[in-house]
């Protein structure tokens, strides 16, 4: 399969701090990749690099096997904070990208009916079609996040970038949204990159999980999870192989954390 995203020896520094260095990663077109790592490992920098919002300090970022030099228009993004516009209804929020992205922005008036239909289709998948005319303040956190997901997909992006989209939700809502996301992905088969702290989330949703090292971040390990049949459900969680993978990844990330000398810490705290 062709690679949609390819990072070759990429480094990114903010002033003197090196956020990522020698990062190598490939994401096959139509696949679902997850990136996990200890906090502050430069996962958000990865988001900015792949979307072209920030140029790499060195190395190259390739999309469709072509090096990029600015924002790429094929991306949809969703973050931990749903960031809905409070003056717009659910439907209007979902339609926002179509008012901006080319070529749809020039067709927005003419094709409005078609676009609204498209938005309603997405809202139906996430179960919010009856909330199209509600305002964000009338929706719960989980519902807002679903709207944010619809917004990131309305312009039919080839690449969906998710930066801890379920991080602020409660456990039940989170698992519910994993299935929502899986359903959409199985239906539309876009390429997805999910940045997360949650190992089960990463393994459950992705075809491949990349583990990043401590700052400066680079990929230290990639775990293939295509063996778990799709659609995945609660049975996946009790698959011994699944749990084994969780344990392995957890050990890997623990090893990536800054070593803490237990003896010296105890010595300091003991009077």
């Amino acid at each position: 399969m062709k690679n949609l995203v390819e990072l070759v020896n990429v480094s990114l520094s903010y002033g003197k701090t090196l956020a990522v260095s020698d990062l190598n990663m490939t994401v096959a077109a139509g696949s679902f990749a997850a990136v996990v790592g200890p906090s502050g490992c430069g996962k958000s920098s990865l988001m900015k690099l792949v979307t072209g919002l920030m140029p790499a300090t060195s190395g190259s970022v390739l999309i469709d096997e072509k090096e990029i030099d600015g924002p790429v228009n094929i991306v949809g993004m969703a973050f931990q904070n749903p960031n809905l516009l409070p003056w717009r209804t659910t439907l209007e929020n979902v339609l926002l990208p179509l008012e901006v992205v080319r070529p749809e922005r020039h067709q927005f008036r003419a094709k409005r009916k078609e676009f609204v239909e498209r938005a309603m289709d997405l809202l139906r998948i996430v179960g919010l079609d009856s909330f199209a005319d509600h305002y964000p303040w009338q929706l719960s956190g989980g519902m807002q996040q679903r709207v944010s997901l619809c917004r990131s997909l309305i312009h039919q992006p080839r690449l969906l970038m998710l930066d801890e989209p379920f991080g602020a939700l409660d456990a039940f809502t989170r698992e519910e949204l994993w299935d929502v996301l899986q359903t959409i992905w199985l239906e539309r088969k876009f390429t997805a990159i999910l940045v997360t702290h949650d190992l089960r989330e990463a393994l459950y949703l992705a075809d491949k999980v990349h583990v990043m090292s401590n700052r400066p971040g680079r990929v230290v390990r990639s775990v293939d999870t295509t063996e778990f049949a799709r659609p995945r459900d609660e049975h996946t969680f009790i698959d011994p192989k699944f749990n084994e993978n969780v344990m392995e990844l957890r050990a890997e990330i623990r090893a990536q954390r800054l070593p803490v000398d237990i003896k010296t810490t105890t010595a300091e705290t003991t009077p």
Binding site: K48, T51, G52, L53, P71, V72, N73, V75, M77, F79, N81, N83, L85, P86, W87, L96, P97, E99, V100, V101, R102, H134, Y135, W137, Q138, L139, S140, G141, G142, M143, R151, S152, H155, M161, D163
Partner: protein, 256 residues
């Protein structure tokens, strides 16, 4: 607002006027020091035409100055709030300008434009545009960076971001500032009239105090206060209509 809270806005002024009246009568305060509310009311009634003659001028200059301030302040706010270069180059100058006492500028305006309407409009404008500009700029400058990223990744330019997010987002800030600015605009035009004009509440009060007609001075104050409250209420109503989404954050949602 409950009925009880609504009553409070009427009850407290009535109580204060009553105490004022009682104090003036009880302590036999001479009316050229502090006129009783009843005397002010009589002065107001007796001079109704002359007060209207002057207050209509004040209202006119204030509203014109304020209208110019809204347009100029909003545009300046958009500029300062959406461009870092504009922010760093304009902001210090604006703060400096705003620190200058406007009362010191009126004589200069008189030299340039003569006495009367023009200096009053300009003073009202100068006093009221700053809060508008600062508030609009704040609304624009505090756009969530992630939302900015969402739009930028779609190929949006700075103008798209300002139009789609910045301006609607800064509307509550704009309306909050309008309520402050309209009262400042009154201060501006009255200052100017007090110093250099033949017409306006400021002129009326200067002349009345020169003639020891203290109750008429107070009548002028009452009229200014009434006009200020009326304009404030108008903008509060417009604000409620235009930016209902911003004040509904506390309402409970349907989801759980």
């Amino acid at each position: 607002m409950t009925r009880f809270e609504r009553l409070g806005s009427v009850f407290l002024p009535v109580l204060l006027i009553f105490i004022w009246q009682a104090a003036c009568v009880g302590f036999k305060i001479p009316s050229f020091v502090l006129p009783a509310p009843s005397e002010i009311a009589i002065a107001l009634w007796d001079n109704l035409y002359i007060i209207w003659f002057h207050s209509s001028q004040t209202l006119l200059t204030t509203v014109i100055g304020f209208a110019v301030a809204v347009v100029f302040g909003a545009l300046l706010g958009i500029l300062v709030g959406s461009s870092r270069f504009a922010y760093s180059s304009l902001y210090p100058m604006l703060v400096g300008f705003n620190s200058v006492p406007k009362v010191a500028i009126v004589p200069i305006l008189v030299v340039w434009f003569g006495i009367g309407t023009v200096p009053a409009i300009l003073t009202a404008f100068m006093l009221s545009f700053f809060p508008i500009a600062v508030n609009v700029a704040t609304g624009l400058a505090t756009i969530e960076p992630e939302l900015r990223d969402v739009l930028r990744s779609l190929g949006a330019n700075q103008l798209d971001i300002v139009r789609k997010i910045g301006i609607p987002r800064s509307l509550p800030y704009l309306f909050a500032s309008l309520k402050i600015s309209i009262t400042l605009a009154f201060v501006g035009s009255v200052i100017s009239e007090t110093l250099a004009s033949n017409r306006g509440i400021g002129t009326l009060m200067t002349q009345a105090s020169a003639n020891f007609r203290v109750s008429l001075v107070f009548a002028g104050l009452v009229v200014i206060a009434a006009m200020g409250i009326a304009m404030y209420v108008i903008f509060a109503i417009i604000e409620k209509r235009m930016t209902a989404w911003a004040v509904r954050g506390t309402t409970f949602g349907v989801g759980g």
